[in-house]
Amino acid sequence: MATTLHSALQRLRETRVWKSIFRRGPANTNRTRSLAVFGNLFLHWLPVKVREKSLRVRASYYLGSISFILFIVLFVTGILLMFYYHPATPHAYRDMKDLRFVVSNGVFLRNLHRLAAHLMVFAVFWHMFHVFYRGGYKPPHEFNWVVGVVLLLVTLFLSYTGYLLPWDQLAFWAVTVGTNIISAMPVVGEKIRFLLLGGNIVGENALLRFYVLHVVILPLVAFLLIGVHFWRVQKDGGLTIKPKDDDGKE
């Protein structure tokens, strides 16, 4: 069975289509394995060699990866929820109820989106604390630390804008209170609140603005910054490992 599969894969790799896509032979030497990583858009920013230590659970607890996976889960479930959600009154609240009680698997997708959002905030914070206590912000990682802090803020803004969308009492008052906190800012506070809400009250304009921020602007910013963040991890020399880890002692 295994040999049949193996030879089938072997034949596939020799086809003209496969070779036109991957433009290389089997990855059976270090050189061809490196080329496989270099030649793939989705992998090219990864290092071609990784220290075994940096893959240990204790090195990172995989918190960055967990945050990223949660972001992907949120991205996919969010797109699916958008097929049933109108960012307008009175539809918004009804659509949320429909997703819970009428749409097939709607409650599963909505809860997945909700729980993943809570977990992502948790994971991103934990990631930050872990990096901080391991000294991962020290040179040459200062810039990536700053990118990470902006990503934390984007995560929180995504959470906050998503909070309004169910258009229930909790959402309404949370955003009323939150935007009143913004208006406490000196001089520009009232103006920022007006622009954010598209008016003086939390109404239809506010719902639409929060929706556009939540589904387009903030995810785009997050994607861009995640790309920079991952790329810089490699360019700054991989995960920070404590010197004592380098000696093989823990």
Binding site: W173, T179, F194, L195, G203, E204, N205
Partner: protein, 168 residues
């Protein structure tokens, strides 16, 4: 133009260097950056204008609160749609905002305790809006209240005033 002058001008043109030391490339670079800067500032201004709505579909800020006879003396009546208390005391009428000055929650009149209480963070006010207890930083504002020609109460929520009593 003398021969020597002519040759120095052609020399300058050839090297792209004008008399005052600014090269053509520098000049064009600055011109382009300046133009892009002006265009950038312009687009920021235009976008800012675009994001400020000119027409709002929000509840009207001036409303009629019906005949004064609807409100007994010594009463506090909450108008839910307008988020305003119409208070009638022996000295007359006043309109008090029901929106908490702390973070914008809608307060409630508690007849037993004879006070206005905020459900969000526990601020307390007297029926005339004066603050009993924080975290609210300010008393509840009063709105301008008057009588229409046909004898109904008229409240203008755009006019925040310190205190106004309407005698009827």
């Amino acid at each position: 133009m003398s021969d020597t002058e002519h040759s120095s001008v052609t020399e300058a043109l050839r090297s792209g260097q004008a008399g005052n030391g600014v090269t053509r490339r520098d000049f064009l670079n600055e011109l382009t950056l300046g133009a892009l800067g002006i265009a950038g500032l312009g687009s920021v201004a235009v976008t800012y204008q675009f994001f400020s709505p000119n027409v709002l579909f929000e509840p009207p800020t001036t409303f009629r609160a019906g005949s004064p006879d609807l409100y007994p003396v010594h009463s506090v009546t909450f108008l839910q749609d307008q988020q305003v208390y119409i208070v009638r005391m022996p000295e007359g009428f006043y309109a008090v905002s029901a929106v908490c000055t702390h973070l914008g929650c809608v307060t409630q009149w508690k007849p037993d305790a004879e006070m206005i209480a905020c459900p969000c963070h526990g601020s307390k006010f007297k029926s005339d809006g004066t603050k009993i207890e924080g975290p609210a930083p300010r008393p509840l504002p009063h709105f301008a209240i008057s009588l229409t020609a046909d004898g109904e109460l008229l409240v203008d929520k755009l006019q925040n005033i310190k205190s106004q009593v309407l005698k009827v």
